[in-house]
Amino acid sequence: MSLTDHFKTISHIVIIILSQQLFCQQLFAANIQVSIVDDNKEPIKDAVIYINETLPKLSEKTIVIDQVDKEFIPYVTVVRRGSAINFPNNDDIRHQVYSFSQSKQFELPLYSGNESRPVVFNKSGAVALACNIHDWMKAYVYVVDTDKFALTDQAGQGSLSNLPNGQYEVLVWHPELASTAQANIQKVIIESSDQLITFTVPRKQRFKAWRAPKSINRRGY
């Protein structure tokens, strides 16, 4: 057998192994459907669901958090550690975005349009955003160490897709979560079929500064 034939045989073996791996992974991949409700059984929108794991190197991605009608859009953004976020200003006025959170402290001085630099989030955890000009503007970035994450929809539901068989810890986070760490974690075993889990978590309402108009003061005596 020539050297070329040996090479061909090895190549075939490698291809077969890789195909089997891929086949098996697809066969045994499953989803975790997550539902999050509060004590009153009300669904919690914009909650972050993620797998408790720390991946050694995460692919960097640039995300956008917009500013429209003096509000951040979206309210909650979940990103992988190392991701950069752009904060374009689509209002025709200037904003001054800042955060005092431990996971990321930064300030974008007064700017309009696309003048701001991207901000890199390289530490996991919650980051509260605000605007110094418009006190009611609030939003959150949640930085995770995994690439398996999702946000809940209006019905408080989200899905972690294509997870290989195995045991996982599923965590949830939301700005208004008042529960202990234990209530925010559930262990799930994936054995080829989809899993449905529900988190019931106490909620502590947080309020943005008041924006709607108050009565114009018509002082009498």
Binding site: I93, R94, L110, N132, P213, I216
Partner: protein, 299 residues
Amino acid sequence: MNLPTKKVLFGTIALLIYPACSHAENSQWVEWIADVEAAYAQVNNLNYSAFSNDENDDDRLALTVVLGRYYQLSGNSRMHVAVEFSTEDYDQFSLMGNTEVGANLGVRHKFGLGHNVPYLQFTASYRHQEVKADPWSNNSLAFNLEVGKHLTDKLTLAASLTYTSVDGGRGEVIVPEISSAVFDQSFWHADIYADYILSANWLLSLNYGRREGDFHSACTVENVNIVLDTMQVKAITSDTIFGGCVYQVDGSNNSYSSNISYAITDHSALNLSIEHFRGNANSLSYRGNNIQLSYNYRY
């Protein structure tokens, strides 16, 4: 305009111009101001009488429009310039109906970066009020200094001090040795405000205000004689609105008010206000209650 008023006015102008010039590189016109309020009120003791048999109540409809713009001086400071138009109509005492045109200029400075950082605001305003009963028409100039702070996500406190100088017309002379310029007045007003967010759509506001200085009161001729006997009246004239006399005294007034706001959207709200006031001038006391429902829109 007297000398102290001029000093305050020129001081205000200097205060406004200085930050505008010092931050000229970063300054820019920003948001427009367009506020509208349509209000219905039940006014108790509209004439601010010290005598219960003289108190007059009425219903009032009011429409106010404020137009203006903010000028961003820096990340911490902004100025606003606005003009205000308002009209009031009364059900029974229609001569109290009035229109008002005013302008105001203010600077607000926030002492740093963050939600809970306190602010200081200075506002100068000028108003011309044209009342259907002509002697009541007046021009007023007011200077207001306000300091405030978000204490928590839910609670905001503010305190303000206002000096107002009113220049009114002269009415008919009815007591020769006493002036008839009842509506030439000056007074101070101190206020404390607390705003408490009850939920995403409901806001409760409480206000305590104290006024010191001149005020006017209208009552029948019989009761005015009691007033003339018991206290120092600074000015007096006849009154066509309530059919007696209107006089000016120096005294104080305390007002306690609460307002509940329901946010319909980020730009509009319904507001219900209740106010109770109690005034004193020498041995006489004045009291009343107001209740107002308004729809407010902000651009």
